[in-house]
């Protein structure tokens, strides 16, 4: 064998060895990546961890920055049977040790805990809920539990108890209890087992209040530690936005106390009070009784949960005469001194197919200027005034009612508003003109009435009623909602004339024997009453029950407030002047100093 033969042989051996190694490599690669790919893919999937990062629902604050609703982190505790069994098999802990150590933190006994775990596991459950909504402090106590087996080890080497898991939940708290419960609303689990808002601000602003969950995308190794070579991504959770209301808690407390008092005093079904700033449309107070405590949910009647100031649209009665008169004056059909008819007999027929229209007292009246008819709340004078307006300016009355907010949703930013129907002008008949003139046949809720009245108080401009002042997101960015003019309803000259007539009503509505209201006479207030029969629920016609409404507003240059009171089905007093007026005056007495009103 020559040298030339030996060298190629060595090379052949090396090549052969390398070829063998390469074939071996290819075979194993084929085995791991093709034949057993499924098993490894499954194993790899178990290493992927995408834990969700939870956050909390946003907070609701009153105008003074105090908290009306907020959330706290809580946890549900689950026992995971496979991990519990694994720990026992490996001799890390015993079942008795697990139950004995965990039970005191769950406010149960060791035997009860073990029994629950055993019985549910025997039914086939792997995840067993053993506690609900525990606070963070209890969670931390449970996390600090150590195994008996490791007691001899140094603290940092001791292993924690195994077999339980926490699921993050939250608890919604309303620290002011019943205060402003209808405004705030409440939260509950929806059909997707997620916390959602219902009613009020919680419902209307649910999208802003709800948190946005984050998650961590990554892989773990066999020990459960993060795989540092794998790509991972963290998307942080975002807490829900915070909402600041225009609500004044002091005015709210006074209003709620008065609404409750009125319901009892006048033996009524319910009472509502709305106080609004006419210049901005901000709702300063909105009270209903009956009410509820959102922390307790103890009330069983549906009515207690209903924000009747916005959900109940009803025939408003003679308070609507304010809108009719303003429309007639502003359209030029009448002035306060116009005498539209030469008196009446207390009742009048307007059409042979219709019942006669009567005043509340059925008393005949001589020829009167419309300003005096307004003071007497005379239905006949008003229907004739409306007929005159329709003849001279067809469709104008409809337009004015629409601009006052009648027949449209007010758009107030709370969930649950309902409004009434205003017939399209082209379909009006003589009965509609008559009824609309004295505030019947169309329906409005208390906030709508306050909004319409605010146009009179605010030089003819109606501002958008709202209760949310600003929204602050989790990064501190503020979105403030500025006052918005909805409509220029009437001219300032018209409101000045209405001011004088409503002030005249106020002065004459504090009677000479009501010495306890003497101090209130000096305040610049405009006022009007409204009493309307409630339609029968099951048929045509009207029942004997009434809705008693009183509206009034500050006529000082500051124009600090408008206030509307409504009492539903009072059993004391047949007219609003005998119940709702008292509620209005009593509430005004309590809020006038707080609002800084000065007598003239």
């Amino acid at each position: 064998m020559t040298e030339q033969t030996i060298i190629p042989n060595k090379i052949r051996i090396v090549y052969g060895l390398m070829l063998f190694l390469a074939m071996l490599l290819i075979t194993f690669c084929l085995r791991w990546q093709v034949v057993e790919a499924g098993r490894f893919r499954q194993a790899a999937a178990t290493r992927e961890r995408n834990p969700v990062i939870h956050s909390l629902r946003g907070t609701i604050y009153a105008a003074d920055g105090t908290t009306l609703a907020y959330s706290e982190r809580t946890y549900d505790v689950f026992v995971y049977m496979p991990e519990l069994d694994f720990a026992e098999e490996k001799g890390l802990q015993t079942r008795r040790e697990f139950c004995t150590k965990l039970a005191p933190h769950l406010d149960t006994s060791s035997e009860a805990l073990c029994e629950k775990v055993e019985s549910q596991h025997s039914e086939g459950s792997e995840w067993i809920q053993v506690a609900k909504s525990i606070p963070v402090t209890k969670r931390n106590e449970i996390l600090a539990l150590r195994r008996d087996k490791d007691v001899a080890l140094e603290a940092e080497k001791q292993g924690g108890l195994q077999g339980y898991f926490f699921q993050a939940t939250s608890k919604r708290l309303y620290p002011e209890g019943r205060l402003a419960s209808h405004i705030i609303g409440l939260t509950n689990m929806n059909e997707y087992q997620e916390l959602a808002g219902f009613g009020g601000i919680e419902g209307a602003w649910d999208g802003y209040l709800e948190p946005i969950a984050g998650f961590i995308q990554g892989e773990t190794d066999a020990l459960g530690n993060a795989n540092s070579l794998a790509t991972d991504k963290t998307i942080e959770a975002k807490r829900g936005n915070s909402i600041y209301l225009t609500l004044d808690k002091n005015l709210q407390q006074i209003s709620e106390a008065r609404a409750k008092w009125a319901t009892s005093e006048f033996q009524a079904l319910s009472a509502s009070i709305v106080i609004m700033d006419p210049k901005t449309g901000e709702i300063l107070a909105l009270a209903n009784y009956p009410d509820y405590d959102p922390n307790l949910r103890e009330e069983k009647e549906v009515e207690a949960y209903s924000n009747q100031a916005i959900t109940d649209a009803y025939e408003i009665g003679s308070v609507g005469k304010v809108f009719s008169l303003a429309a007639a004056i502003d359209s030029g059909s009448v002035t306060p001194d116009t005498v539209v008819i030469q008196g009446h007999n207390g009742c009048e027929w307007i059409h042979e197919d219709l019942d006669e229209v009567c005043t509340h007292d059925h008393l005949p009246q001589p020829p009167l200027p419309i300003s005096e008819a307004f003071a007497l709340s005379d239905n006949i004078y008003f229907l004739r005034m409306a007929e005159l307006m329709e003849r001279e300016h067809p469709g104008a009355f409809y337009d004015y009612l629409k601009k006052f907010g009648i027949g449209n949703y007010s758009g107030v930013d709370m969930q649950g508003e309902w409004t009434g129907f205003l017939k399209d002008w082209q379909q009006w008949n003589i009965a509609d003109v008559a009824a609309y003139s004295y505030g019947h046949s169309y329906q409005a809720n208390v906030v709508q009435i306050a909004s319409g009245l605010s146009a009179i108080a605010n030089n003819g401009v109606r501002a958008q009623p709202h209760i949310v002042h600003k929204v602050v997101d989790n990064e501190g960015e503020v979105t403030e909602f500025k006052p918005q003019a909805v409509a220029e309803v009437v001219k300032p000259e018209t409101t000045a004339q209405i001011d004088a007539m409503m002030n005249n009503i106020y002065q004459n509505n504090i009677f000479w024997w009501e010495w306890y209201y003497d101090d209130l006479r000096a305040y610049p207030i405009g006022m009007k009453s409204g009493t309307a029969l409630i339609p029968n629920k099951n048929g045509t016609g009207y029942s004997n029950e009434i809705n008693a409404t009183y509206i009034g507003y500050d006529q000082s240059p500051d124009r600090k407030f408008v206030m509307v009171t409504r009492i539903e089905e009072p059993q004391v007093g047949d007219l609003a002047g005998q119940n709702s007026r008292i509620l209005w005056l009593e509430t005004f007495r309590e809020i006038k100093d707080y609002l800084g009103m000065t007598p003239q």
Binding site: D64, S71, S228, R239, D593
Partner: protein, 108 residues
């Protein structure tokens, strides 16, 4: 013949060099993997610990925020007034300003 011998020697030398380079690269690759894996790949526990700390801080932040919100209530303010022995002074007139962050003030 001499030329063939020379060629053969050159090829043999080149092959030996290439083989040595391959072996060297292979060994270097193995060592590099060891270094990288031991440097970065063993940090999994540290990363998990950092994430756990992050989670605890996040939770602590939530707890503190909830405590702050819980403290901003009338009941808590009343309790603070009682605890500090303060009293409410009678106020004749209050001017209410609804601008954000504005406090109520009394006007004599």
């Amino acid at each position: 013949m001499d030329l063939n011998n020379l060629q053969g020697k050159i090829i043999a030398t080149t092959n030996r060099h290439l083989l040595m380079i391959c072996v060297f690269l292979f060994v270097a690759y193995i060592f590099a993997q060891f270094i990288i894996l031991s440097g970065i790949g063993t940090k999994g526990a540290d990363i998990s610990a950092a994430r756990a700390t992050q989670e605890e801080l996040r939770l602590e932040n939530e707890v503190l925020q909830s405590e702050i919100d819980g403290a901003r209530t009338t009941a808590n303010l009343d309790a603070q007034v009682d605890q500090l022995g303060l009293g409410y002074t009678p106020i004749d007139r209050i001017v209410v300003d609804y601008a954000p962050g504005t406090l109520l003030s009394s006007i004599p």
